[in-house]
Each structure stands twice: as structure tokens, then as C-alpha cells.
Symmetry: C2
Subunit: 372 residues, 2 copies
């Protein structure tokens, strides 16, 4: 049992946050006051800098969830007179395809199985065969399975073919290095409540300035228009519409935490250790991860469904919850499976405690093995 | 000087919140866990009940600001093959007109001056003259000037003519009584961070169930589709996309505070007292409110710009800020003016303290009078 009134969240987000992050929400900011304008400016600069995009990109935070930021980026940037190619190997890629169609962008997909990354060479051939494709969209870490897609090699191919690249980095930004100086990306989309370890309520895109400048008046939505949102920030430093002031303050504090940890490299190292303890620990109880280690991002791990007839997911979930650990109740993969996250304000001792709790739950529920 | 590290917010929102409301943000919820599903259910029920709509309406909370909720409601409900009539007497009415045009709803307006409410009889004539108008949209309290528009009489006329009524109750819901059993309204839109006194990050609409049921597939946006959002809640109690968990917890705690205060009647009484102290107090220093008392909602007061040449708004604002009071820096009215809010976790002693601070600032800045 954890010595904490609330359970530890082992999910893809919202996550367990640091006390300092939550403490930052004790202040009520006036949304048009200089103190909040300064906070907005600082967070925007930190996000751009974190992606190494200060010379070329601007960051545009947006009220709402990560999906809002994805819809906003597509609505603001996509050329409806040309084609968009979406790389799909999970639920989030599929949602992007759906969004493209909703906003009237002609769309084609290159789909691979959930445990198969897109092949950059194959993508290159498809792009050469279809000059009408203006943009490629990639989900960096597909939370469906936990797969890490090959961002750098995809970006090289897309740039070599002279097309634009938009990356949904929702589940990777802040924990997996992305360097906009080396990796050509027009827009990078993420949210406050994933690897940045703040609370939910804000998405953002880090967008190539030249492309954003050329995107006035294209968006299908007033609220989601990132060009107008950016113009608001540039004009008077303010948000067009009421910002989630407490969430932004929490994000600023969470970025302090990222700095203290040694930035993206430090966070990646902690998550990798969490992930290893998780896979080895549940592995010692028989569990098998869906993905080989080479494709597994240290974000969320999908385990194949145990074959032991004593294993019922709902009971397993509830019994872990009673012991202070919430795993992810949602299943998105085609294969029967369950998922456990290894991100958030979660450390090696927490993951070891979780493995102990899983062992204890197995005893209580008379599950002999987690083997599929 | 206030005995508090942070200034008191005398704005139309985000507002100063109660300590209990901010304390509720100390817990990290798993967004798909039963505890959060129960929290969502409870808040949805409380919002519907607060509007006395439990028998006829459902509440649909939405990630984002109040404007998101307005855009979502219009996008979800409006019939693009018929006309929408927008009652305009301020910036928020104008924004609604713009939103209607953006989503492709044929729109007509009935505009009055900022200090003139729409005339229900005139509206009735216009509706009879134009049977193609399907819906009327009213801003209950126009924050531009602080005017309270005549909701009940407008609603009667609209119902008598057999049209639908959508009400932007952003700045009134929770403080000014609205009873859906007596007042025919198809959709009532508001947000977490106004008179409900929670933190910003959530909007919501309380929508007539029959109308929402008939509104599938109309919305121009995936994120803002309130029919789909509602279906998500009805299906498994969950949010379609990551919810602002801490903001929702704060809203639940803020609704506890509203109950403790005696509900809408108790809150209205406190705000009215705040408003009276403000108008009389600044009045004793020469200031004159834009609106007559009969049109003034106890939400935000617009004062005519003082004529004393020693009065410079930026200096006045900054000096009040140094004394712990943030008034609203934005001006929206056509006439030269400044605005002071009287809502939030703000009490009579706070308003009296503000008047003292204004008197002190006048001495320091050598302003003789606030008379226009």
C-alpha cells in the first residue's frame, strides 16, 4: 500500500504531478495583467527552446486538450487544395485522418500494423509517386501500442521530397529528444499533461514561423485558429480568450522541474528506468509486452492479455487501485491487451512498488501467471 | 494594502477564488477512473439542477474557455438552412454574430446601443416579419458595459413566436436566477470561472435534451461537437478527450461554496452589496457609472472616464495594483471608460478596502476627482 492519500497514476496522462506543480495553482492571476502576460511569454519561450526551435519556430499554446491542439494545427496549416498524407499505425493516427477529412483536406494514408513503424523508403516512393501531397503527418509515439515511430528518418525523407511535416508529439515531447535545428518539422504538437508533467487543460504547437505567417484566415474554427491566437500573443502578449491561468502556472512550475532533472535527457533516463523495472518486473510474473524493446518508447507499455482464466481485467484493475496504483483502463489495440504507463512524477521505487502490488494482487485473486 | 501575497481581482474573470476551491486542485485524478467518472457525473447534475433544468435539459461541459462553449453550442445546434437572429448590444453579441457567419449560419442582427437593452416588442415584430428565423441568441449580461438584458421577457416573446432561444449566460449564471422550468431556453452557455467562482478552463452548455438529440453530425469541429461530447458522457461517463481534471475538481468545490452561501440568491445578494459599495464609494470620489441602476447587473461596472487631466488610466491601474487591487485593464465600450468587477471570492470589506485604495491613489497621483 502506498503512503499517499491518492493513487499513483500509471497511465498515458493525466499523470501524477509533483507537489511544486500543484502548488503553483494556489495563485489566481488576472488574465490581462502584466504578471500573467510575463508568465505567458516565459512559457512560450521555454517551449520553443525545449524543441531547439528558437531561431525558426514560435510556440502557440491553446486552451483545451491535446486533440484540440491537433485539430487547431491541421485547421490552421493544411492546404485544402493539395493532399495530406497521414502515417497511421494506431488510434491517434486514425483520429488525425478523420480530422483531416472533417476540415476538408484531401487525405491519403499510409497504414502499417500497430506494431510496425512506417518504412521511410516506402514513404519516399509514395511521395515521389504523388506530387500532390503537400504535407505528411506523423504520430511520434503512438499511445495505442506505445510504439516509437522513426521521426528523424521520416523527417529526412519528407524534407528530401520537399514536403511539409507535422508531428503529433503528444506522448513524447519533453522525454524524447526532438531538435528542430536538425530535424525539419513544420509543426510539433503536444500538451501540458504528458511528459512535461503538468496538469491537463493546455495544448500547444511549435510552428515554423514562416509557415504560420502564411496561414491567416484558413481555420474552420474561431477558437482553434492558431494564426489568430499567435497574432494575439504578438500584439499585446495576451490570450484572445480566457486562458486557464492556473494550468499555465502549473506548466511553468513543471518546466522548472524538468530543468532540475537535467532536461529531456534526465527525464528520458528516469522514464527508461521506470519502463525497464516495469517490463522486467511484470515479466518475472509472466507478462509479455506487445512490442520488442527496439520499438518500445519508455512512455506506456502494452502487455498481451494473460491467458490464466483467473485473470479478469476489471478485478485486476480494481485490486491494484485499492493498493494505490491506477493503471490504464482503456484498450485501443487490435490485440487483446492491457496498458501500464511509466511517466509522470513517478520514480524507480514507485515502479518497484507497483510490481510488488501486482504480485500481491495475483496472490489474492489466485492468478498463477500473467503469461499470455 | 491588502494582507495577502496576491492582488484581489476586480475583473469579469478569471476571478479571485476561495481557498477551498484551489485546494481541490491538489489531487491528480485518473481521467478514466471511477472516481473521476463520479466527479463528472456529479458536476453535470449540479449544473443542470442549478438552472432548474433537471427534467428537460442536460449539461455538457467542454474543455476550453467560455468562447469555446459558445462556438461549440452554435456549431452543434444551429440549423444552417434557416436564419439566426442575434441580439447585439456589445462586444460579446458581435462575437456571436461573427461565429454564426463563420460556421455558415445565415444571420441577421437586432442591434441596440451599448446602454440600451433590446425591446421585446420590437423583437416580436421582427420575428413575425421574418418566419425564416429559427433561433434567437441573447447575451444575458453583456460584460462590455455590464448591462443586464431582459431575459424573461425576451424568452416569452421568442417562445410565443415558436422560435428557439440560445442564451450566453457567461457572466450571469450562478449569480442571477435563471429557471428553465419557467423560462423557455434551448441552450444556456456559461463557464467555470465567472459567477460560479471556480478556475478557468471549462465551459459548458445546459441544453434541452430533445434539441441536442436531434443535433448529431452538424458541428464544424470534432473537438467542439457537443452532441458527440454528450454521447461520450452518456455512453461510459467519460470525456472523449483529456479533461482538465483539476479544473473540474475545483468547480465541484466551488459549487459547494455556492451551496454554503445559499445558492444563487445568496450569491446575488453578496454581489449586489459589492456593487453598491463600489458605485457609492467611487461615486463619493466623483465617478459616474455608465448605466442607470435599473440596467446595471451586479457583475461589472463601467465608469465614464474621469476628465481630471491628472487621471491617466495606466498609472491609476498600476497604483491600485501596488495596493493589492487589480481592476480590468480592457476597454470594450464605445465611450471612453474603465471597468471594475464586483464578483469572485470578494466581500463587502474587500470592496470598501478598494474604495479606500482608490482614494489613496488619487491623493498620490494628485487626482482631484473621478468625475467625467
Amino acid at each position: 500500500m502506498r503512503n499517499n492519500p491518492y493513487p499513483l497514476l500509471l497511465t498515458p496522462g493525466p499523470l501524477t504531478t509533483a507537489p511544486e506543480t500543484r502548488a503553483a495553482m494556489q495563485r489566481d492571476f488576472g488574465s490581462r495583467d502584466e504578471a500573467f502576460i510575463a508568465l505567458t511569454r516565459r512559457v512560450r519561450e521555454r517551449l520553443t527552446t525545449l524543441a531547439r526551435g528558437a531561431d525558426s519556430h514560435v510556440s502557440v499554446p491553446l486552451q483545451g486538450s491535446g486533440t484540440y491542439a491537433v485539430e487547431a494545427t491541421l485547421g490552421t496549416l493544411l492546404d485544402r487544395s493539395r493532399k495530406t498524407l497521414v502515417l497511421v499505425n494506431g488510434a491517434y493516427g486514425k483520429r488525425i485522418e478523420r480530422l483531416c477529412r472533417l476540415i476538408g483536406a484531401p487525405t491519403t494514408i499510409y497504414e502499417t500494423a500497430e506494431d510496425v513503424p512506417p518504412d521511410p523508403a516506402e514513404l519516399g516512393q509514395r511521395l515521389r509517386a504523388d506530387p500532390s501531397v503537400a504535407d505528411v503527418i506523423l504520430v511520434h509515439c503512438e499511445t495505442t501500442s506505445g510504439i516509437l515511430n522513426p521521426l528523424e528518418s521520416i523527417a529526412s525523407v519528407v524534407a528530401a521530397e520537399g514536403r511539409g511535416l507535422i508531428v503529433d508529439a503528444m506522448s513524447s515531447f519533453g522525454a524524447i529528444p526532438i531538435d528542430l535545428r536538425r530535424t525539419p518539422i513544420d509543426a510539433l504538437i503536444a500538451s501540458s499533461n504528458k511528459c512535461l508533467e503538468a496538469v491537463p487543460g493546455l495544448g500547444f504547437a511549435v510552428i515554423r514561423r514562416a509557415r504560420l505567417e502564411a496561414s491567416a484566415g484558413k481555420c474552420h474554427s474561431l477558437s482553434l485558429d492558431l494564426h489568430a491566437q499567435w497574432q494575439g500573443f504578438e500584439t499585446n502578449g495576451q490570450w484572445r480568450f480566457t486562458p486557464p491561468t492556473h494550468v499555465l502556472a502549473a506548466l511553468d512550475a513543471a518546466l522548472d522541474g524538468l530543468d532540475r532533472e537535467g532536461g529531456v535527457a534526465g527525464r528520458f533516463a528516469r522514464y527508461r528506468e521506470n519502463c525497464q523495472i516495469l517490463i522486467r518486473g511484470l515479466g518475472s510474473l509472466g507478462a509479455r509486452a506487445l512490442l520488442p524493446e527496439t520499438l518500445q518508447a519508455p512512455i506506456i507499455v502494452t502487455f498481451r492479455m494473460p491467458s490464466d482464466t483467473a485473470f479478469q481485467f476489471e478485478k485486476f484493475y480494481a485490486a491494484l487501485g485499492q493498493r494505490g496504483y491506477l493503471i490504464y483502463p482503456g484498450k485501443l489495440t487490435g490485440v487483446d491487451s492491457f496498458r501500464v504507463g511509466c511517466i509522470g512524477h513517478v520514480h524507480a521505487a514507485d515502479m518497484a512498488g507497483f510490481v510488488d502490488a501486482a504480485r500481491d494482487v495475483m496472490r489474492t485473486l489466485r492468478i498463477k501467471s500473467l503469461a499470455p
